[in-house]
Symmetry: C2
Subunit: 361 residues, 2 copies
Amino acid sequence: MSIGAGEPHQNAQGDAQAGAPRRATISDVAREAGTGKTSISRYLNGELSVLSPDLRARIEAAIERLDYRPNQMARGLKRGRNRLLGLLLADLANPYSVEVLQGVESACHALGYMPLICHAANEVDMERRYLQLLTTYRVEGVIVNALGVRESMLKPVGSGGIPAVLVDRTVDGLDADVVGLDNAAAVRLGVEHLLERGYDDLVFVVQPFEHVSSRREREAAFRHATQAARQDGLRHATHVLDLREEDTVAPALEALDAHLAEAAKRGARCALFAANAPVALRLALHLKARFGAQWPQQVGLIAIDDPEWAELAGITTIRQPTREIGYRAVEFLHERIEGAAPAARAAAFPGELVVRASTLG
Amino acid sequence: MSIGAGEPHQNAQGDAQAGAPRRATISDVAREAGTGKTSISRYLNGELSVLSPDLRARIEAAIERLDYRPNQMARGLKRGRNRLLGLLLADLANPYSVEVLQGVESACHALGYMPLICHAANEVDMERRYLQLLTTYRVEGVIVNALGVRESMLKPVGSGGIPAVLVDRTVDGLDADVVGLDNAAAVRLGVEHLLERGYDDLVFVVQPFEHVSSRREREAAFRHATQAARQDGLRHATHVLDLREEDTVAPALEALDAHLAEAAKRGARCALFAANAPVALRLALHLKARFGAQWPQQVGLIAIDDPEWAELAGITTIRQPTREIGYRAVEFLHERIEGAAPAARAAAFPGELVVRASTLG
DNA sequence: CTGTTAGCGCTTTCAC
DNA sequence: GTGAAAGCGCTAACAG
């Protein structure tokens, strides 16, 4: 960074009176340095070799004196590229998103982008509005952790729409890069662990599928894995828990309780498989309320996602390499922005089993 | 929203071949509608009354046909205002930040701003870089949850720098609006609760003060509150826990253990007061490892901040009205951007005690 | 090596 | 009612 690298500056303008002294422009600097705008522009763009030491020194002094900062908007307008990337996140309250975000950020820094973070807060409507906004700000690409985006809002990979890469969730009918967890393998890992620990009645708990592909994939993988086990007397079921509708969760949890009670009567060992962290939190809260602090002795619990509180609560999880997912997403996007046009790719990262007290068996 | 309100559009351009069909500009629309750019601009800015119904219809059709989206950058360049607000967050992994963010977002929507979210990830250096970047993108104002910003980077309220409001933490020597928790009252609330529950040896645990004013304020309030209690035999102490340096935390926790052991020997009832959620998590983890699941019987724990896992872990907390804090910050900023120039204000919101099992006494 | 000139996409007087 | 023209701050030919 050549400019204003953190040192305090004097503001040459009349601070004393005006409310908004108007930032210096490139013309101001040119005048101050007694030269043309071109040279200033060259200086800004690092074409230092082309400038005489004297001119260069004058420019530096002028910039310093005026506390000049080039206007990125104007630059972007002219150049046609503004180094802005849109990051559209379904839910920042989900630690998963924050972690992916961190990966995205470090990749952005490495590649010279500025991430524009948009938080849909689980509202399809917000998501739509943000997508438009991003378009309007002419971001060079978007990373989308989709909620309900319809294919029509993003252009598929081939056509000239704004380059997009999907995180965790695909969008029906949209041909784009996707990066996320290897759901099938992760769920299999979890199921195998539960079987090893002697559970013989597995219940998968997931939020309403809607258009969220990962939920669907995980559930399918769960059914597949339990069936493939072909273990005598192994039972499995899927329960849906809609966390957005507080009044639907109570009945859903009751149904779950009924299942647990029935299993207990049969002498079966029951374990819950939470499709993600928010579900796991809700389940743990419920189990604790129902069975007390010793709930893991009554029922097992495993979850995909590894939020920081899982350790404290002693919940077995399958951790996703979240930063890497975010990082890779940016790399994919970068390639596309730079003009590469391969067919849509998918990067599926493996999950890692973290065994804790909730699945002691 | 008049334009492209989410419906699918045909892309009139030659999708078939070019990689980037170049978005339609205002001139394209003007040509397509057989009129001048001025009228298009008027239409975009809602000066509908000035347009003949016929022209208006043609414009609408042209926009639709070309899937036109006005370029915000260009608009901002011309107008001098781009409706961008910078939000600089010290640590998004801290649920506090995410909640403040949510408040900021809803206020931004209400007031027509677009928040540019920047995440310093606890790195002073990142923070500095982002602050420059924001300047460079000509945001109209910034909301800063400061880490180590020096006064020199933000201009005080009076002079014409970029309008700023501080969240949770003040900056030495900087005269700006601040919004956050009423630390003194919150800590007092917590101390009173602990005393009521019969604890008589209180230990405040906080991260290194550095330049974080809220840490300092909370600690001071703690000392003040315990001294004011003037209760016979009441003891208090402060421990510092540096979460960033993993190798310093073990010794710090050992010191804490020593304190607890000594207190136990005296027959004192000891309680820990965590200055914020990250500290509380670390403490809870440690206590659990040391005393087992029943740790609350050995030592009390209360924390400022109320992360979602506090309920699960049964930890007593003092909840901050985080959304409101974020919302108010934007309101303050908005007033300044609109030109109001009152003296620097401070909004201190009250905390709310949430009693759980960790302070049963 | 350095400066002049013509826009990027949009808004905004100022005429018609 | 409507449009032509002059920039906003910057970059990129193209000349000197």
